[in-house]
């Protein structure tokens, strides 16, 4: 009897492992926006890669700070929670990464950011309706969307890989900081690093000699 039970248990275990394997064979990867990126444009690209036949829910959340404020309703003062956009304009990609790490559980205590404040978890406020994308192809499928007219703030792009029951089986998330578009873009140091290096100059000289 116990032998039979053991066989059934082994079979059940194998079945569970196979199912789990099927469930997690599919994977979702957020290609764009790049992890912890910063942009000063009011639009950005969302690109999600799904590895096999699968369904995913793509959601965008704006990160807001919960603030308790007093309101007077019918002569009575009550406290209500309002969600405001925190001023994160001075943050750098590494600061966004610090917030992301806190969110994903890589760290439990927020690091000190370049604005002197400690990274904290904000509240997810849905930005538009989530989209369900189904990759019907056997191979890789790509979901793309350009988000336009985005207000400055911190956003979280989240992808839930949905199981057959419609519940999230796995998730991927990334943060992007949208800054105010400057009226005049400041001069960048884009070309300062490798202008006229010795090797290039030598290459040009040699090229001209043997021309």
């Amino acid at each position: 009897m116990s032998r039979r039970l053991a066989r059934i248990a082994a079979f059940a275990l194998a079945l569970v492992m196979m199912c789990t394997g099927v469930c997690f064979a599919a994977s979702a990867e957020i290609v764009s926006p790049a992890a912890s990126s910063v942009t000063d444009s009011d639009s950005f690209l969302i690109s999600v890669k799904l590895d096999s036949v699968s369904k995913a829910r793509i959601s965008v959340y704006q990160q807001k700070e919960a603030v308790e404020v007093s309101r007077t309703v019918s002569g009575t003062s009550i406290k209500v929670t309002e969600y405001v956009v925190p001023d994160l304009s001075a943050l750098k990609p590494e600061d966004v990464q610090a917030i992301s790490d806190l969110y994903t559980g890589v760290v439990t205590k927020g690091a000190v950011m370049s604005n002197g404040k400690t990274a904290v978890k904000y509240t997810d406020i849905p930005y538009g309706d989530p989209v369900v994308y189904e990759n019907k192809a056997e191979g890789i499928g790509i979901y793309t969307k350009q988000l336009t007219g985005v207000a400055p703030g911190l956003y979280r792009v989240n992808v839930d890989l949905l199981g057959k029951d419609g519940k999230p089986a796995a998730s991927a998330t990334t943060f992007i900081l949208v800054k105010e578009k400057p009226k005049v873009k400041e001069k960048t140091d884009l070309f300062e690093t490798n202008q006229g290096t010795a090797a290039q100059t030598l290459k040009t000289v040699i090229k001209n000699i043997f021309k």
Binding site: T144, K145, Q146
Partner: protein, 470 residues
């Protein structure tokens, strides 16, 4: 002898000398000019057909960057190209520039992170000849950057013109002391479709510009070869190719119906195949000098116009574009092999055989021409949504990988996907010629370093490919 008769004798001698010199000069004018002229011109004698070769040089696309990584493409690349050249000419009037090499990442950052405009060609243009041909003057050190496939302007450095050579992977910028007063990053109207670098969508390094989504009015149409449309074309092309020597040309027809015109002992051969394609071959290597990219292009274009004609659109404009150019350097003779592609409704028509017309110009004369031009009909219909380019690439990554790497072994999808995300060079709409079926199928034309692929425009299924090598 009296002094009078001696004077007459002297005058006679002078007249004889003058007559002798005049005879030599006249003989030189009569024969000498033809003798010195390259043989290609003899071939071209007859009905002179002049083509403005600059009309064949049209960018693959003109992309206006909005600074957030997205681009919109100019509706009329030829018009945008003319305006970009005028802007570059404005730079040329400024102080002498300095040329410096920049990294591919810097070039990409300048085009994606800032307002920008970039013009991309399917072939490499020689920088110095380009500047000379379009009246841009001679930029200092411009000859250090031998050729380019892209050039553009960016808000990242308004006082610069940027160049990129896709074949060598080199990027340059010409830095001037200041920017022209009328600097612009948008020359013409652009379509509403949003384009991104392929690598940004798929997660790789590929520089192909692909749309997120799109629509098209292209539909499967019918085609006739030009020989089916005009059975006398073989004779016309032969008359044009052989010129005055046509009366001395042998005409042979084999059992398969292939018609061959031969001059001498195979010195010049024109073969007219039953599938409507033509192959002209002149074994004499050019005695003259190569006239450079644009000079040789004119020679090629004039020859094509003369031998069969360049396809025209309904407004009389050229329905053909330069699609490829390979520099030849074979000892004494140098030149180019030009590939021209026929356009219908503004999109290229291609097949597994490659370009519609291929012309080899060596030593200043046409030494080979392959021609397979078609007449298309019923290729336009209602507007429909096309299959998303990113999904065409992702769904066919194993096919692209196997053909491009010449490996039929199965490979992990992730490896094939990474190859595609890093190596796709171009992805554009077009028409795929299925000659055996007599049909034209709307397609995505995808270029990898080793092959050109055709995928159905609406469902992404593979239609064919053409190996091109690198």
């Amino acid at each position: 002898m009296s002094s009078r008769s001696r004077l007459i004798e002297h005058a006679k001698s002078v007249i004889l000398v003058v007559l002798f010199i005049a005879t030599i000069l006249l003989l030189y004018l009569l024969w000498g000019k033809d003798y010195l002229r390259p043989a290609a011109v003899t071939v071209l004698r007859g009905q002179a057909a002049e083509v403005n070769e600059s009309l064949l040089v049209v960018p693959d696309y003109v992309a206006y960057g909005s600074g957030d990584g997205s681009f919109s493409l100019a509706d009329d690349p030829a018009e945008a190209f003319a305006k970009a050249v005028a802007q570059a000419a404005g730079f040329a009037k400024l102080s002498s520039p300095t040329l410096s090499q920049i990294t591919r990442e810097q070039y990409r950052a300048a085009m994606t992170g800032f307002e920008s405009v970039q013009l991309s060609f399917r072939y490499a243009l020689p920088t110095a000849q380009f500047c000379e041909y379009y009246g841009l003057g001679k930029f200092t050190s411009s000859d250090s950057s031998e050729s380019f496939t892209c050039f553009g302007f960016s808000e990242a450095s308004p006082e610069s013109i940027f160049f990129k050579d896709e074949s060598s992977g080199s990027c340059y910028r010409l830095l001037f002391g200041e920017a022209p007063a009328s600097l612009s990053y948008r020359f013409t109207d652009a379509g509403s479709a949003q384009y991104y670098y392929c690598g940004d969508i798929l997660g790789g390094k590929a520089d192909a510009m692909i749309a997120l989504e799109g629509e098209s009015t292209l539909q499967a149409g019918r085609m006739l070869t030009e020989l089916e449309a005009d059975p006398m074309l073989s004779t016309e092309i032969a008359r044009a190719a052989y010129g005055d020597t046509f009366d001395f040309v042998r005409r042979l027809r084999d059992g398969f119906g292939t018609l061959t015109y031969m001059y001498g002992y195979g010195a010049k051969v024109l073969t007219c195949y039953t599938d409507g394609s033509f192959d002209y071959y002149d074994e004499s290597t050019g005695r003259g000098e190569s006239r450079g990219f644009f000079g040789d292009l004119k020679t090629a274009a004039d020859f094509v116009e003369k031998c069969g004609g360049i396809p025209k659109d309904e407004n009389g404009g050229l329905a053909m574009q330069l699609f490829g150019a390979i520099r030849l350097d074979q000892g004494r003779s140098s030149g180019y092999v030009f590939g021209f592609v026929q356009t219908e409704d503004g999109v290229p028509v291609l097949s597994d055989r490659g370009c519609s017309v291929e012309v080899e110009v060596s030593g200043g004369q046409v030494t080979r021409m392959k021609r397979a031009v078609i007449k298309a009909s019923d290729i336009s219909g209602d507007s429909r949504e096309v299959m998303q380019p990113a999904n065409v690439l992702a769904g066919n990554c194993n096919h692209i990988y196997n053909i491009s790497t010449n490996s039929m072994l199965s490979v992990e999808p992730a490896e094939a996907y990474a190859y595609v995300a890093d190596n796709v060079r171009s992805m554009r709409m077009g028409l795929y010629e299925q000659e055996d079926l007599g049909t034209l199928t709307p397609c995505w034309i995808v270029l990898s370093p080793a092959a050109r692929f055709f995928f159905d425009l609406y469902d992404g299924t593979p239609l064919g490919f053409d190996l091109i090598g690198d």
